[in-house]
């Protein structure tokens, strides 16, 4: 359950970083988002830190680092596909991870 929660936060952190990027700012239509790239970066960092903390809780010190770093690639790829095909569905992968966390064995 905890690894999936860590992945959900990892994904949301990447979403915040993506929203702060020049090439993706237009994707997130709200003006408030577009005007605050600095805040988005800080928020993304906070979400990543939370993901790392959960990864540590799931895999200990060694496995935690690996889980956190390994989460970037699939989460980032999911975000890339969402942004390429259905940008409005950006929260969907996080919901999938939460659903998997709910059904996964403890």
């Amino acid at each position: 359950m905890i690894p999936w929660l860590s992945l959900a936060l990892n994904y949301l952190g990447l979403v915040a970083f993506a929203a702060a990027l020049e090439s993706h700012r237009h994707t997130f239509s709200r003006a408030a988002v577009r005007r605050r790239p600095g805040l988005l970066r800080v928020g993304g960092g906070a979400l990543q830190a939370a993901a790392l903390a959960l990864a540590f809780a799931a895999g200990g010190s060694g496995g935690g680092w690996v889980l956190w770093i390994a989460g970037w690639a699939p989460c980032g790829f999911a975000l890339t596909l969402v942004l390429a095909f259905r940008p409005r569905w950006w929260p969907a992968p996080a919901f999938v991870a939460l659903a998997l966390a709910a059904v996964a064995p403890p």
Binding site: H24, F77, T80
Partner: protein, 522 residues
Amino acid sequence: MSPHRSFRSAMTWLHTWSGLTLGWVLYAIFITGTAAYFRPEITAWMQPETAAVAAPADAARLALKRLQEVAPDSKRWLVSVPDDRSRELKIFWEDNQPGKRFKSENVDPSGGKNSPPRSTLGGEFFYRFHFQLMLPYPWGRWLACAAALFMLVALISGIVTHRRFFKDLFLLRLGRDGRRPWLDFHNVTAVLALPFYLMISYSALVIFTPMLMPLAAKFLAPAKPAPAAVVGREPARAPDAADWITPDKLEAMLARVGKTWGSGRSLKRIEVTQRGTPNASATFTRDAAPSVSYVFTDRETLTFSGLTGLPLASPEPPAKSIGMRIRGVFYGLHLAHFAGPVLRTLFFLMGTMGAAMVGTGLVLWTLKRKDRLTQSGHGGRFGYGVVSRLNITTITGLPIACAGFLWANRLIPVAHAGRAELETTCFLLVWGAAALHACIRPAHSAWKEQFIAAAFAFGALPLVDLLTAGRQLDTWPRAESLYVGFTATLLLLGLLFGHGARKLAARQAQAAAGAATKGEAP
């Protein structure tokens, strides 16, 4: 290459050629290595007879009984016991003939509830292929190491080459024409999983350090422990009948092992050595507690004298040097034995992304060359032709061959003699057929047809499984998560290849329509 080229253009040249030279080997290594993350699960799927598995100690008893039947006078026995992931109960024994080769056999781990398991290499085939490439020792390992080195060079030169490393993160412009979507896909798969690629290529070289740098092996080898004080070992004398460790003698040892280790991490391996001599002994092994670091000597063992049945004093574990510790961490990261189901799935996905990165890189080379050929109208056609055929043979041909291997597992009769070797032959035949097809058909048709073939090969496999292994359906609930997961993966692969075939057909139709319009123009 001109000496006046900029550093970045030199790195671009290096990236192109280091990626292309062994790209096909690298792709094969990625595909089979990624599959090997689920080695025990693939073996379990390929042996549907092993649906029911006895407890480790009971399975060990069955194996020892079988060893007594097939190799009563062998000097050395080995038993690989099923665990949480593996259902395979395998026995090995040393042949007493000159050369002392090992023979092996799969044993029904249920003790009669299942039918005898079919002979297959299972997931071991992908694992071995990953670093041996079906070449004789040590050439396969050398080639795999060379591919890892080329990948490391391609990664570092690629980092320098990629101008918009962070700016174009998460960017996939599929609607653009030409090479752009391929380049974006190559960049996205490369940048997002870059830490994994750096780790996997570097750790591959670290794993083979003793082979690549024999002098370094001296520093990585564990210090030889001083001979331990042996309790209950008798002085050397002529062997007699009592020296043969039999399953009855091992029974008491198994009970003692169970008492010492409890019900936590279970027994993994039993090794009986020097049978028939006064120095006969039995060693019971279990894995060390899960850790990122993987050092073979970290395993916990209990050794008993074959003569008295009493435990022998275990030698102190050898001291590990800094080099050994670092190698252990890289080895552990590469194998990912420590990973739970979620992390293992992430490694699997990153391996798939690695294969996609290499595949798109190879395709990009041909697209770039095709543009140049169109502009210049001559020269370099041979190289272009060879690379494009090799691309088809590898990028779609290899997955078709992997599916063929799984088809062979279901279609070759269970009792067929030498069926494990026949499965491997089928893999090679299918791959050879894909290569032949890629050579005799026009490239655009060959791509489309092989995508369709791959979609069918993976998509229809669950149906073949249902029809041929249907007898195992009564044991389905026990195998549910494994079977459902495996079947879903096969269907997903079928869908992905089907989607690829559809996209290719649409693009080719669009190109043909464009060419026709140009032809009609005055």
